[in-house]
Structure formats: C-alpha cells, structure tokens
C-alpha cells in the first residue's frame, strides 16, 4: 500500500490554450485512478495556482455564454467537490489586485465542503517539495 503525491502547478492563463483546463481535468481524474492500481494504492493530487495561473479561478467566467464551453471556473469548483488540496498564491493575487471576493473559494452551492487556500508562495514551494512528481501547466 502506497500513496504517490502529484502536484499540479497551474501557471498559464485560461482559454487561449488548453493547458490550464487540462491540468484541472487531469487532477480531477485522480479520483478514479484506483481502477488501475492495486488495492490500497493511491494517487493523490493537489493543485496550486501561481503567476498568471491565478486568473483561472476568477469568478463570473462567461465562456459558456459566449463560446458554449464549460468554464475553468466550473472545473475549479469541481476540484473543490473532491478531496483535492487547492492552493492559490497570495503574492500573485496581491500583484494583480485580486482578493478572495474575486475567486472561486468553495463549492458550497454544490454541496462541497472543501475550501481553496490562499497561501504564500513558500507554502506552494513546500507542496512541491513533498510531492513525488510535479506537473506544471
């Protein structure tokens, strides 16, 4: 029985490329990975938003209205319905003048009980150090 920790680090802006969206969908897929593993083995994913990546968790994304596609906001909310650790870099929020009022911080409206955590970059560095593998997107 073992657990492998994967740290997804989202640093890219949403929509122009698929990178950040795929980071979220891959991280979410950690919830069903056991079908490929031996009993008791686990893959645990976390998601950290750094640099430009913090824009992925903006509220009120309307890509559905304008392009008919799911939003990164929706995917970010889905990560909070699951047992994923979500970290958002405080220094980058400060740089862009963003606060938690602007961000998807929970999925209370969908019945989720996880919260996103606004943390200093040093906490994200620690998350990277404790992970087995790093996946930058």
């Amino acid at each position: 029985m073992a657990t492998r920790k994967l740290a997804f680090v989202v640093r890219s802006l949403p929509y122009k490329t698929e990178a950040s969206r795929l980071a979220l969908t891959h991280a979410i897929s950690s919830q069903t990975v056991e079908i490929y593993l031996n009993d008791g083995d686990l893959v645990e994913a976390s998601i950290s938003y750094v640099g430009d990546g913090v824009f992925n968790v903006m509220k009120n994304q309307q890509a559905g209205k304008h392009y008919g596609i799911t939003t990164n906001e929706g995917h970010a909310k889905n990560t909070l319905l699951l047992d994923l650790k979500v970290l958002i870099c405080k220094e980058d929020l400060d740089k862009f003048g963003l606060t938690e009022e602007n961000l998807v911080m929970d999925a209370d409206d969908l019945g989720g009980d996880m919260k996103a955590n606004i943390v200093s970059y040093s906490e994200i560095q620690k998350e990277m150090e404790t992970a087995d593998h790093l996946l930058f997107c």
Partner: protein
C-alpha cells in the same frame, strides 16, 4: 529536493525560475530555451544564468538554431538526449517543463 527544470522558452518562465528553490537545481535549456545559453542582449548574458544552478543546453536544439557549442556561455554544458536521460534518472529526483 533535487530538481531539473527543462526550460523550453526564452521570453516566459523566468518568473518561475526566479522563485524556485531546490537543494540541487539543474536547468536544462531545450527548444527556444537554448537562447538563454547563447544569445546576448545589449552585450549581456542572460540573467537566468546568474541563478545558483547547474546549466545544460541541448546540442540538437542550439545547433538547430544556428549556434555552436563554442558560442555557449561558459557556465553552460552542452548535452545530448542521451545525457538528458541520464541527468533525469541519476542526478535529479523531479523534473518540470517550463
């Protein structure tokens, strides 16, 4: 941690490199990342090379872009794909792509 960064871009990614800290850091310049090793702006070498790290540049990629090994900054060692595999498996524990 012992971290290898595969740096594939010239104009982006430096912000991440600036923040990263690792007990042992290797920066492997690949793709357009090789310009960090060979290009000079206003006569100055790229600031990324001042980072406390070991630097490598992929021969296939700097040669593809018109540079030769003798044009690389003295802090950068030329490597090939086989060397990169060995670096990843033997010298570092984690690998990221920027």
């Amino acid at each position: 941690m012992k971290l290898a960064v595969l740096m594939s871009d010239y104009r982006t990614g430096s912000d991440i490199i600036d923040r990263l800290s690792a007990e042992k850091l290797g920066i492997i310049l690949v793709g357009n990342g090789v310009y960090h090793a060979a290009a000079k702006e206003d006569g100055k070498a790229c600031a990324i090379l001042d980072k406390k790290a070991e630097f490598f540049a992929l021969t296939e990629d700097f040669e593809s872009r018109g540079f030769t090994a003798d044009k690389l900054d003295s802090r950068v060692k030329a490597v090939n794909y086989s060397d990169v595999v060995d670096l990843i498996f033997n010298d570092y524990e984690k690998v990221i792509w920027l």
